[in-house]
């Protein structure tokens, strides 16, 4: 094991390897920052160029891309309320309000630092769990998935404390939209209106990017001005905010350790994905923060929760990919293809015969994240100035990028139309006070809830007892019930002394 680690570390000192990592960082950050593109497009484009390359160098290139996309995606999420990738959507909720307050550089710096600690923790978790990954993966079946997803759906109520009815309606809309498309379980097309475009449902990237970015750009153009008022911008100490952001993260170890554990844990379980990791961490962070009133209004804890988990999941997702050949995330599915192309066989044999490659990937992810965060922190004072640019300059530019990004994912012009429709829909929902976050949660978690419920019923021949008889399932159920009941009990307790006086 140590020999393989040493070999992977020695290779990192090779200038070609470093070059590959840095190339990956540049590609990944750029693709992450351009709304709609993201890691899948970047990795798919890089894949053919790795033919004939030393597999370790190819892995460094992939590691560079995978680890840097998240930070890249957080920059427009914070400064323009436009998530670069769907998992960055959770960062919008606190990052953008900070940018509006003139703290854009601080928020980007928090994101850069959180990404690095997340990546580091994810790698540590991977190293520690590599020998015991099998029992973890085997312990999670459809009933356990179901409770995890139900927990996420319950969080809709918490995410919309200000207006729970509108929040729940939004969640319901999200779930309903997620039902569109082909159902493998029923073998039928649902609500596709006779259009083959909707066979696979409403596509995630155009929907999320449209809902957030296009609707924000409409609002942005309608109200004019800039994210931060220009007269106040002159007094902002952008450089000073970078240091503040780093200190914000380092002074909250509880937040990032918990977010890392959630991110890495969700990454390990195949089939959940990055969006679930960042939202789940965001909501758990909401329950644990010392300043709940700031959540959704520019909370430092909110950004740490979503961005740390987003990066920690990469380390976790690597585990089932190398140990079983089961991708823990869509990025890992492409990595799996790269393994096959390079004649490598993921699974127990890979851990035995090519452990140096596994470590190379892992160290590559951490080193690339270090480079991404370092470069990001250096660039932050300039990047943050985007928030003072007038909307008449920035809106058309971002709109073009959004349309280009959504088109390039599948080279389908209807995806651009979908982004426009989602944008108009999102704008109307914003105007009437529906929290967009609840729609995205419903949309992402709805199909997972349906599938895990139906699979559980198929396994148990229709017996609901499957949801309570398995130990992990029972623990998750208890956790969900406690989460629902705790605030109600707390409210009742608060009311009781008041009643007596």
């Amino acid at each position: 094991m140590f020999e393989a680690m040493a070999m992977a570390l020695t290779r990192l000192a090779d200038p070609t390897a470093l070059g590959m990592l840095l190339l990956g960082v540049v590609v990944g950050t750029t693709f992450g920052a351009l709304p709609g593109l993201g890691s899948i497009v970047a990795l798919s484009l890089a894949l053919p160029f790795t033919f004939g390359m030393d597999p370790i160098l190819a892995m460094y290139l992939f590691a560079g891309i995978m680890s840097s996309v998240t930070f890249g995606g957080s920059v427009p999420a914070i400064l323009l309320n436009t998530p670069g990738t769907p998992p960055n959507a959770a960062t919008c909720f606190d990052g953008y309000p900070m940018a509006q307050k003139g703290e854009g550089a601080r928020a980007v710096s928090i994101s850069a630092t959180a990404c690095f600690v997340g990546s580091l923790c994810g790698a540590i978790v991977t190293l520690l769990l590599l020998p015991v990954v099998k029992p973890i993966v085997f312990a999670f079946g459809p009933p356990e998935f179901f409770w995890l997803v139900v927990f996420g759906l319950v969080m809709i109520a918490f995410a919309s404390r200000a207006n729970m009815v509108k929040g729940l309606v939004g969640g319901g809309i999200g779930v309903m939209l997620s039902l569109v498309g082909y159902s493998e379980i029923y073998g039928t097309f649902r609500f596709t209106l006779g259009s083959d475009y909707l066979w696979d449902g409403i596509p995630l990237v155009p929907f999320v990017v449209g809902l957030f970015a296009v609707s924000e750009l409409i609002s942005y153009s309608a109200r004019g001005g800039a994210t931060v008022a220009r007269d106040g911008a002159a007094r902002i100490n952008w450089r000073g905010q970078v240091g503040m952001g780093i200190r914000d993260v380092l002074s909250r170890p509880g937040q990032w350790i918990r977010a890392s554990a959630i991110g890495a844990g969700i990454g390990i379980i195949p089939g959940l994905g990055g969006g679930v990791a960042s939202f789940m961490s965001y909501f758990v962070g909401m329950q644990r923060t010392k300043e709940p009133e700031l959540y959704g209004k520019g909370s430092i804890d909110g950004i740490i929760a979503s961005e740390t988990a987003n990066d920690a999941k990469e380390g976790g997702a690597l585990l089932p990919t190398v140990a079983f050949g089961l991708p823990g995330s869509p990025d890992m599915a492409i990595l799996l293809g790269a393994f096959i192309l390079h004649g490598l066989e993921p699974g127990p044999l890979m851990l035995r015969d090519h452990l140096d490659l596994v470590y190379a990937l892992l160290f590559g992810i951490v080193f690339s994240q270090l480079a991404t965060s370092g470069l990001g922190l250096v660039a932050t004072p300039w990047l943050a100035r985007l928030s003072v640019l007038p909307s008449r300059w920035i809106a058309p530019f971002v709109l073009v990028l959004v349309f280009l990004g959504t088109y390039m994912v599948r080279t389908n012009i209807w995806d651009v139309c979908m982004a426009v429709v989602a944008g108009i829909f999102g704008y109307l929902l914003r105007r009437y006070g529906f929290p967009l976050i609840t729609i995205v949660i419903g949309y992402i978690l709805g199909p997972l809830a349906e599938k895990s419920y139906l699979q559980s019923m198929q396994i148990s021949d229709g017996s609901l007892m499957i949801f309570v008889t398995e130990p992990i399932s029972a623990i998750l159920m208890a956790g969900t019930i406690i989460t629902i009941l705790a605030p109600i009990i707390a409210a009742l307790r608060r009311r009781r002394p008041g009643d007596s006086t």
Binding site: P142, E184, I185, G187, F324, P327, A338, I459
Partner: protein, 326 residues
């Protein structure tokens, strides 16, 4: 028309036709060829396309751009290929199974009229195993039949190739089959078997090799035993000949209307790849079952599948009716 002008016109037409023909051969291909893969980046179809593309690039002297276009169980990529301009610069894998399944299992109109698809070459056909959990008391198909109970199979979905194979196996061997459905990939369905969420599953080596310590292959859907598991009996030797041709064919096709000369040029290039020893070794090591077939051989295999699908249709109708009633 005067005889002389008729002769001149005829000669000119012939010359034009010949020059077009030779011109087409000489000129094609002169720019990159898009190779559409109807599954996501990283799929086994994608890996095979990229490998073939490497050989094609040397032979055809143009770049081969592999374009993953996943969706709808492989239909979306097939639709894109067949609706593309028939200029020889967009080709790809048409995954026939879902289209056949739409028409012959569910009685629906397929989005692509597969009878008009120009076949360049069939490269491989997946060959699957019946797997059970390692601790399963059932060590053969005969054991399963003897049990006198129904068996729960993991599968990606109704009408998917593994669903078809499990249904056909149950109907042929004589045991009822039901399903745990909705797994995104065959690898996930194999993991479900390894964990014990399902009592059995169908998959190729590429799908279950990562959990091979936890599953046991007990039946091979091929005419003869497979070199990877020589102790596992094949469908052919057990007398289940109708089950030996159920694997999904990996067929390179062009859009309808593509000039025959272009199709022929790509076919020749593919045949050269198939004959290459290094390619054969890579394919064998990676778990691909090469099954080179021209259009005639490919259609024979597809027609056999159509007959099997027709026989399975009542089972599908019963399954979907039951679910609707629930």
């Amino acid at each position: 028309m005067k005889p002389i002008s008729l002769a001149v016109t005829g000669a000119a037409a012939m010359a034009a036709a010949l020059s077009f023909n030779t011109g087409a051969r000489a000129a094609y291909p002169e720019k990159p060829i898009n190779f559409i893969v109807p599954f996501g980046a990283g799929s086994s179809f994608g890996a095979l396309a990229r490998k073939i593309g490497q050989y094609w690039e040397k032979d055809l002297k143009v770049s081969i751009v592999v374009q993953p276009l996943p969706g709808s169980g492989g239909r979306r990529g097939g639709i894109r290929i067949n609706k593309s301009k028939p200029d020889g610069y967009t080709i790809g894998w048409t995954h026939f199974v879902p289209f056949l399944s739409d028409v012959y299992l569910r009685g629906k109109k397929a989005a692509v009229d597969i009878t008009k698809v120009p076949i360049i070459y069939q490269v491989a056909a997946s060959q699957f195993y019946l797997i059970v959990p390692k601790k399963s008391p059932y060590k053969s198909v005969a054991d399963m039949k003897k049990a006198g109970k129904s068996f729960k199979f993991s599968s990606t979905g109704v009408g998917a190739i593994t669903w078809v194979q499990a249904s056909a196996l149950g109907a042929t061997a004589g045991f009822p089959v039901n399903y745990v459905l909705g797994y995104k990939k065959l690898g996930d369905a194999a993991l479900a078997v390894a964990k014990g969420d399902a009592e059995a599953g169908i998959g190729g080596i590429v799908h279950f090799r990562s959990v091979r310590d936890d599953v046991r292959p007990i039946f091979f859907f091929g005419p003869k035993r497979d070199k990877f598991f020589p102790d596992v009996p094949s469908a052919g030797e057990l007398g289940y000949d109708q089950l030996t041709n159920l694997g999904a064919p990996r067929v390179i096709t062009a859009p309808p209307g593509t000039p025959k000369a272009y199709v022929e040029r790509l076919r020749e290039a593919t045949k050269k790849v198939m004959a290459d020893a290094a390619f054969q070794e890579w394919a064998s090591k990676t778990g691909f079952y090469l099954n080179p077939q021209g259009p005639q051989g490919t259609w024979k295999g597809l027609n056999d599948k159509i007959e099997i699908f027709k026989k399975l249709r009542p089972i599908v109708e019963a399954a979907t009716t039951k679910k609707t009633k629930k």
